[in-house]
Amino acid sequence: MGARRLSVTIAMAFSVLGGVARASGDGAESPWYIDQFGGAQPDLDALYAGRPGIVMMRSPRPQLYIAWRLLHGQRVGTAAGAALSIPCCDGPEHVYSADAPPTGVDAWIAARKLVPSAPELKTGIPTERDGANYTSIANCFPEAFDTAASTLKARAADHGATSPAVFVWLTRQDAVFRSCHEAGVTLPGAGEGGPDWLQADEAYQQAALALYDGRALEAADRFAAIARDAKSPWRGVAPYLQARALAREAKAHPSPAAFAKALAALKAVAAAPAGTFGQSQVTGLSRSLEFRSEPARLTTELLAELGRADPPANIAVSFRDLSDLSDKAAVKPEPTDWIATLQSFAVVPDDSDDAARARAGEAARQAGLAHAVERWRAGRDVTWLITALSLANSGELPASVLAAARATPTSSPAWISLRHDLIRLDIAGGADPDGARREVDAVLARTDLSVRDRNVFTAQRLRLATDLHDFAKFALRHRLCGGGDDAKTGCVRDKWYGGYEVSGVYDGPGYKGTVGFGEDARAAIDRMPLRGRMALGVDGSLPQALRLDLAVTNFGRAVQLRDDAAIDALCGQLLSLLSQMSGDWRMISKTPSGPDKRFAVFLALAKIPGVRTDLVAYTRPEGTVPEFQRYWTDWIIPAKGDPNAKPPALALYQSAGFGVSTNAPDAETDLDCLGECGHGSSTARPPAFETAYEARARAERAFFFKSDHEYDKPPPPAPADSLIVWNEMLTYTAAHPADPRVPEALYWLIHVGHYGGSHDHSGCRAFKLLHSRYPNSVWARKARVYND
């Protein structure tokens, strides 16, 4: 195939991706080369050090806040970056460790062993209370267990581990910790006197029990009394615990008076002499109250704290507070307003149909764009420039905005994100392809791109491919966060998503591999005519597994097109690519055209359940022939093409069809960034030449009869005069009883029927023929029942 023809083929491949609208879809859960969570550790390190790369709307808010800081010259660094890259503030998990000195519950359980008569704990110590709707709420924290453990050691040392009073103390403390999980626990032997130290401790234990049992006001009063008791060893910690009890009460029964009382108690702790117990907790606890009682004042305080050049110690908590407050505020603070505008997610009722969702999404995009432009004009802040470009479709941005974006120096941390959108808009706007290609090549020549960003720019470059080899060069994407082993990659993706990856799309077996076709490349390949696909299939720069994908889908197309020359050529490739079936490929190649050859071809089809005419619907055959995966389909070869046949919707490629409505118009689908980057449309303007090849692909598509159907719908009727593959196989087997391949062919036809791919009960018919004519064959023994 000559170079000119190849370039024409590629141009055609993209010509169907036309139209301008809002990039849609819910973003990728399973695709594997664009990670909105920042990618692997080296890329995350670069991010934390100051390189935000492409700012993606579907990154989590805290990671977008990292970008906000960097774009404003504020530092992030490894510790703050790591804290902002994982979900924050979901409460403590209880860790029982034997690798280090015991702490928390472990410390308490270990300390109890000092007392020989300590009652055996039948189970561990649950520290959560049951909440509403099957939730659990953390109630007791490790510090309480640490304190109890050290107190028990001290009391045992002072009074003897076998002392009856120590035993009483222990049983009371057990009761306190039972109340972490159980309601209504009482302190055993309360009020029965005993040594002074035991009575002082009893007062403290009663207060703690009241706190854990939800009687916060009673707990506060008890701690206050302890604070006034000059003899109590707990006098020093009591003021803080009183404040904590009042804070719990304010949260449980909110009122201005309750908040004021709790905040005043916390202020008193803060104002106490340095070193007073609990002072380090005062800020966090006060903020948790102010979050509810004084949101405006707390917002101002958080903005000041987060506005400093260096990240504050608890940056993730502070940002989470700011973000949550912002959600409730009538006017959002600048950083969270920026994030909300960048994301511009439409809020629609759950039962909205696709059209209503699309309208709401477009309205949100346009509103976000107008706001971003207005904010940029107000302050010339580059973050708003990024947002404006991210939300814009071609032709929508004022010249001044575009000029500012183009004038941004390459040294700016905003440059990569702006350049990505400028190239996107240029391509969509029909800019000179040579110029656009030079621009993308210049970006790809940079050495500071993250793997994720390189994959995105590679997708843009693919749109500008000059010929098939150029296409092959930019069709591949590098896998990120593969295999789910985040310990090796450093990826944080699994902290946010419990998703999984599909298999059979990389260059390795199963889930293994490091590169694969980009979804945009797969869509383009599926829109090529057979000869273009076949030429690509022998491109030595592609990994063997991907050439197998091409060869098998090309085989399916060649069968549908009754193209024996193509079939023979593909059998030559499949001899090495799918050597498990080498006998079949040789048989097909050596058999002259006609019914005998068709039988050989159809037998091969019957053995590979995953064959389809398009990559998006196909499943790679892996392992031995019986291990090949996917359901068979009812192969039907029309006599006349269907002029209305359409290629698969692009939404099927984005995120492998997960989370994207398959009704989404092609123009709303983003195959460059898989819906992660921004709402601005990435659809390419179709090239205006060589429609002859587009016509050829369309003409071929007309013969790709698709019998796959939804479970709840009947199969589509076969067009008149079609060649029904399984019927012809049955006819052939009936007419050639001595052909040694026939029993096996019948076996596979039964198998096809098991998996819903039969035609007019072809599986049942095959079963009857196999068992009536070849009852003692190995194939009959293998197929003892049928399900058709």
């Binding site: 029982y96 561990g124 649950p126 099957y134 310990a487 479970y711 998996y755 197929a783």
Partner: protein, 221 residues
């Protein structure tokens, strides 16, 4: 119907459907046992919620240290996260490697010992365990639910066997099975408890689709 940990509203479920709610997450990493309860709400008719599930996972990066102490802590952590009410059935969801099978058996034994006697104990199992693993017969459980999804290389064989009217080799695996909404099974033995999993979160439409498929098995489909 499995209610995995994400906000789920299953109030649409019909009366003949039960809910297995995941209430606990327990992780074993070396000798560290980490546990927590459910953080997201499940809205469902309480009468429908008859089972709690505790998901246990073993950190692949740090081989487990299986001492008596760790073993006891793991079982304690599981039992501590069964939720507010004693359920009729507790299910343990733990996938183990070949070298860790004894740990799973130990855990099931220990949890069984900690549960009140009327409480049934169920376990999930990889479908392949029900074909080739004799150790499964020692599991002290009332029910084994083989999972007919994410089956890997053995999946085709298993599906073919079931589609052909076959059944799990181990008879203990013949009282329940589990399917996922995104991995349809053409045919499976009817008349047993079917656990339904959805990787995205349940909606009425997805539920109805899966329900129709499963009902089809009973009708000989």
């Amino acid at each position: 119907m499995w209610a995995w940990e994400r906000p789920e509203d299953l109030r649409f479920l019909p009366a003949d459907t039960e809910v297995a709610v995941q209430t606990g997450f327990v992780s074993l990493s070396g000798s560290d046992v980490t546990a927590r309860g459910r953080r997201f709400t499940l809205l469902a008719d309480r009468a429908r919620v008859t089972m709690v599930v505790v998901h246990v996972q073993i950190d692949p990066r740090r081989p487990p240290v299986w001492t008596p102490d760790v073993r006891a802590r793991l079982a304690d952590a599981v039992v501590a996260h069964l939720g507010a009410e004693t359920p009729k059935t507790v299910q343990i969801d733990l996938e183990v490697r070949a070298s860790q099978r004894q740990m799973l058996l130990d855990l099931l034994t220990d949890v069984r010992a900690r549960l009140p006697s009327p409480t049934r104990l169920s376990m999930t199992a990889l479908a392949s365990w029900c074909e080739t693993e004799t150790w499964l017969s020692d599991a002290p459980v009332d029910e084994i639910a083989p999972m007919l999804f994410r089956m890997g290389a053995t999946g085709a064989r298993m599906r073919a066997k079931l589609a052909a009217g076959g059944d799990f080799t181990n008879p203990r695996c013949r009282t329940a099975l589990a399917v996922s909404s995104d991995a349809p099974i053409v045919r499976a033995p009817a008349g047993r408890r079917v656990y339904l999993f959805d990787p995205q979160g349940w909606t009425p439409a997805v539920f109805e689709t899966v329900r129709e498929r499963v009902t089809g098995w009973a009708q000989g489909g």
